[in-house]
């Protein structure tokens, strides 16, 4: 019996039991549904074993949307708990678990897969490649990420969720003060998912460096690809720091080491430093690709080229370098003295300069344009003012002396939501709407889409602007309750209403997908927005090999010039179809990650035998990969011609 007790939830409540039942029922329905419709084979052949960057991208997208839902439910619960003083909807422990999982899910399991979806789907198309450099590794990355995500979400129903905040500061997260397995889940699931992200970083750096179509010099790359390149460089250099921090945290919890303990020479501040040496660049891993998407969308609907391409590129490079030199601003109040604080205060404010350059460049892209306010453009135009607001409050937080008053308050919470939601989430939704026709062959409804953007923005303003005010009034973040006399109740109620409105906008998004799926015209061209970059030069739906012939790049806006730039700018002129080499499918990455899941799960509960079995499985799969002789397969010329004829392709 004792063996099984550890799997119980330490702080059960009615809500958790309800959620458990719904998760179990949901799982049964899905499994039964797949069995009933005999889709297991299809799932295995077309998705689980796929190495196609487009399909892997779509799987990332699905996970991101599901996690957006989960993190969103968490958020509404948090806001409801705080809507009234002395509310008893959640108790303290439950509230702590909810805000911890809200943070981790939204950053690592929603925003990250969302941007990696765009990396996967867009980068090979934008550079005119067949796939990524290592398709098999790409599949491995996804399944690592997926199993990390699965493991983290399992904490909810088996053993208890982490409760030390998404930053998981020690010693609070150590064995002494955090006795459930929650923090083990945090350490190990993030480790597994982080490995996947690191592999993604290596894969996309190699892809972008080596697989660009002929003629595409670095300074002719589409802006999203530039942002992806820089974000992946940051991934490669930042994630190992997280790997080390998590490994140390795991050892502290499972093996009794003394890294972050409070006696025997342990140092709790080391965790904070390592976490933010990774954590701050991580923010830029999220925001730079979002900037890249805006840089793709705004020129298309301003009907003009992007203003200041060169300065856009250099500002991103400068941001990426600076992102490694500002982490101390997350704890100005740790007592490192005026000098250190001054240095990091200045480096932090300096980041505002390249960011400002980007804002102005987007604004000047509108100059002399012919602006069409489509849904993606509307998101972008709502992004600029809202993000500016978040940016300038960031400069306020960068003033270290004044930060002593903002730190750990709702002001801070308001700030980072104010940059991440308009910055990242709007970009993801704008990008999703923009690329939806390329992904699925029909467009999302414009009316519902625009309404969604407006409702979301109204909800956003109502939800987060009040937090700036209560923060300046001394309301700390992460407090599960407050008393009537503090006077925070009105504004917190407003914030709750805002979160409900944001929820409505999410439902509108879902409805839009349903509505458009039912009613939207399937008779659209492969370039419905009259866009400018190479990804629109493929057919819709995109054939597995992307481009039948390799495009020849002659300018920055290759596809726009292909359409309007006359004969010399033709992407495909004089090209003959040749046989195309493609990688084989493989189930090994999935199987390997099933073992990773077993390994992780057993480590979390200190079941050493299971962990060893898991580890042997993982190594066995690697060994199998090493000995496997996989030469891929070929699309023959006739096959390609056949496919292209069917799709009424760009190659006439």
């Amino acid at each position: 019996m004792e063996f099984f007790e550890r799997f119980a939830i330490p702080h059960p409540s009615f809500l958790i039991y309800m959620a458990m039942i719904s998760i179990v029922l949901g799982a049964i329905v899905i499994v039964a549904g797949i069995t009933y419709f005999k889709k297991w084979g299809y799932l295995w052949r077309e998705w689980i074993t796929t190495v196609d960057h487009k399909k892997i991208g779509i799987m990332y997208l699905i996970v991101a949307l599901v996690m957006l839902f989960r993190g969103g439910v968490d958020a509404v619960m948090l806001r409801y708990q705080l809507a009234m003083p002395e509310n008893t909807f959640l108790d303290s422990q439950h509230y702590n678990e909810v805000f911890t999982t809200h943070g981790v899910v939204m950053i690592l399991f929603m925003a990250m897969p969302f941007i990696i979806f765009f990396f996967n789907f867009l980068v090979p198309l934008q550079i005119g490649a067949r796939d990524v450099a290592f398709p098999r590794l790409n599949s491995l990355s996804f399944w690592l990420f997926f199993m990390g995500m699965g493991l983290f979400n399992l904490s909810f129903i088996v053993g208890g969720s982490p409760d030390a905040g998404w930053t998981s500061y020690f010693p609070l997260a150590g064995n002494e003060f955090s006795t459930s397995v929650g923090t083990n889940y945090y350490m190990i699931s993030l480790q597994i998912a982080g490995l996947g992200t690191l592999m993604t970083g290596i894969n996309f750096m190699t892809t972008i460096f080596r697989m660009r179509a002929p003629g595409m010099t670095l300074m002719r790359m589409p802006m999203f690809t530039w942002s992806a390149l820089i974000a992946n460089v940051i991934i490669v250099f930042a994630f190992p720091v997280l790997t080390v921090a998590l490994a140390m945290g795991t050892l502290d919890r499972l093996a009794g080491t003394q890294f972050f303990t409070t006696d025997n020479g342990g140092m709790d501040m080391l965790w904070a430093n390592l976490f933010w040496v990774w954590g701050h660049p991580e923010v830029y891993i999220l925001i730079l690709p979002a900037f890249g998407l805006y840089s793709e969308i705004i020129p298309v609907f301003a009907r003009r080229n992007l203003y200041g391409y060169t300065s856009m590129v250099f500002s991103m490079i400068i941001i990426s370098v600076f992102s490694f030199g500002v982490w101390t601003h997350h704890f100005f109040t740790m007592g490192q003295g005026a000098l250190t604080n001054s240095v990091f205060s200045i480096t932090t404010m300096a980041i505002a300069i390249p960011t400002g350059v980007k804002i102005f460049n987007w604004l000047f892209t509108l100059y002399k344009g012919k602006i069409e306010m489509t849904t993606p453009m509307l998101y972008a135009m709502l992004f600029i003012p809202l993000f500016t607001l978040g940016g300038v409050t960031g400069v306020m937080l960068a003033m270290s002396a004044a930060d002593y008053q903002y730190h750990n308050s709702m002001f801070l919470v308001a700030h980072f939501h104010n940059v991440i939601i308009p910055g990242v989430v709007y970009a993801m939704l704008a990008g999703l709407t923009f690329y939806w026709p390329k992904l699925f062959g029909f467009m999302l409804n414009e009316k519902i889409g625009k309404a969604t953007a407006w409702v979301m923005s109204i909800g956003f303003v109502l939800a987060f602007i009040p937090m700036y005010i209560t923060g300046l009034d001394g309301q700390p973040r992460r407090g599960y309750t407050y008393s009537e006399v503090t006077g925070y109740s009105t504004l917190n109620m407003v914030a709750f209403i805002g979160s409900i409105i944001m929820t409505i906008s999410f439902l509108m998004l879902v409805y839009n997908i349903y509505y458009s799926f039912r009613y939207a015209s399937r008779d659209i061209s492969s370039d419905p927005w009259d866009a400018r970059s190479l990804e629109w030069a493929t057919n819709t739906p995109i054939p597995e090999y992307n481009f039948a012939v390799t495009p020849q790049i002659k300018s920055r806006e290759a596809f726009w010039d292909h359409k309007y730039g006359g004969k010399d700018m033709d992407l495909f002129a004089g090209q003959k179809i040749e046989r195309i080499h493609m990688p084989n499918k493989s189930g090994v990455p999935f199987i390997m990650n099933v073992f990773f899941f077993i390994l992780g799960f057993c480590l979390i509960f200190s079941i050493w035998i299971g962990a060893i079995i898991g580890l042997i499985g993982v190594l066995g799969c690697m060994l199998h990969r090493s000995f496997e002789d996989d030469h891929g397969f070929y699309f023959e010329v006739e096959e390609i011609e056949e496919i292209e004829r069917e799709k009424r392709g760009a190659i006439k």
């Binding site: 450099a133 290592f134 690191l198 970083g201 290596i202 894969n203 750096m205 190699t206 460096f209 080596r210 697989m211 490669v236 250099f237 930042a238 994630f239 190992p240 720091v241 790997t243 080390v244 921090a245 490994a247 140390m248 050892l251 093996a255 009794g256 080491t257 003394q258 890294f259 303990t261 006696d263 025997n264 020479g265 342990g266 140092m267 080391l270 390592l274 040496v277 080499h581 190594l619 060994l623 090493s626 000995f627 002789d629 030469h631 891929g632």
Partner: protein, 199 residues
């Protein structure tokens, strides 16, 4: 696969091979960050010995010198293996790789002895902030070597069975990069952990 450019060394002849080499270099970049982080932590934690011993009290010069000598030599022999591969000698390649792996195994053996020694003198991994960081840093390097041993064996088997071709040569070359990297990390460990600790 489509194009085999025979003007280049074997491991660089296919596009796939070239991509793998570049990808591996990037991976080594990540590894450098990993070890840099560990070293930084070590420098921070070096003096935080709590109730446990300091570095000067537990480091033994003998085993460390053996480890250093063995690993440096193995780095040389893996270089010879790649040289032999360029000359197209399958037998010499395999032999030099076997020598490399044997030296690696000796290194690992001495390191395991060293770890037992630390536990024996009361410097186990749970003793203090210093010992935790020291043994984690050394252990991470040791795990890399262990992984390298198994990886190297699988490559040797492949070369023996399939001969030297662009694929196996590519694997052996990447393995040599990995092995050299571990050697460089060891030089840092030797200088900044052992020498600095003993002086």
């Amino acid at each position: 696969m489509a194009h085999v450019d025979t003007s280049k060394p074997l491991e660089y002849q296919t596009e796939e091979g070239r991509l793998k080499i570049l990808g591996f270099w990037i991976f080594l970049g990540a590894e450098i960050m990993l070890f840099a982080t560990l070293f930084t932590c070590y420098f921070v934690m070096e003096g935080r010995t709590g109730n446990g011993p300091t570095g000067a009290e537990i480091f033994e010069i003998g085993p460390v010198l053996i480890e250093t000598f063995v690993l440096l030599t193995s780095s040389f022999t893996i270089g010879l293996a790649v040289h032999a591969m360029r000359l197209g000698s399958k037998k010499a390649t395999v032999n030099f790789m076997i020598v490399t792996l044997i030296l690696g195994a000796v290194f690992l053996g001495v390191e395991i002895y060293e770890f037992f020694h630390y536990v024996h003198v009361g410097a186990g991994i749970t003793v203090s902030g210093f010992t935790s960081t020291l043994l984690t840093t050394l252990g991470t390097h040791g795990l890399h070597v262990t992984f390298g041993l198994f990886w190297g064996i699988s490559i040797i088997i492949q070369i023996v069975k399939r001969g030297l071709n662009p694929i196996t040569a590519n694997k052996a070359f990447i393995f040599s990069l990995y092995w050299h990297f571990l050697d460089v990390v060891w030089i840092f460990i030797f200088s900044f952990i052992y020498l600095k600790g003993m002086l």
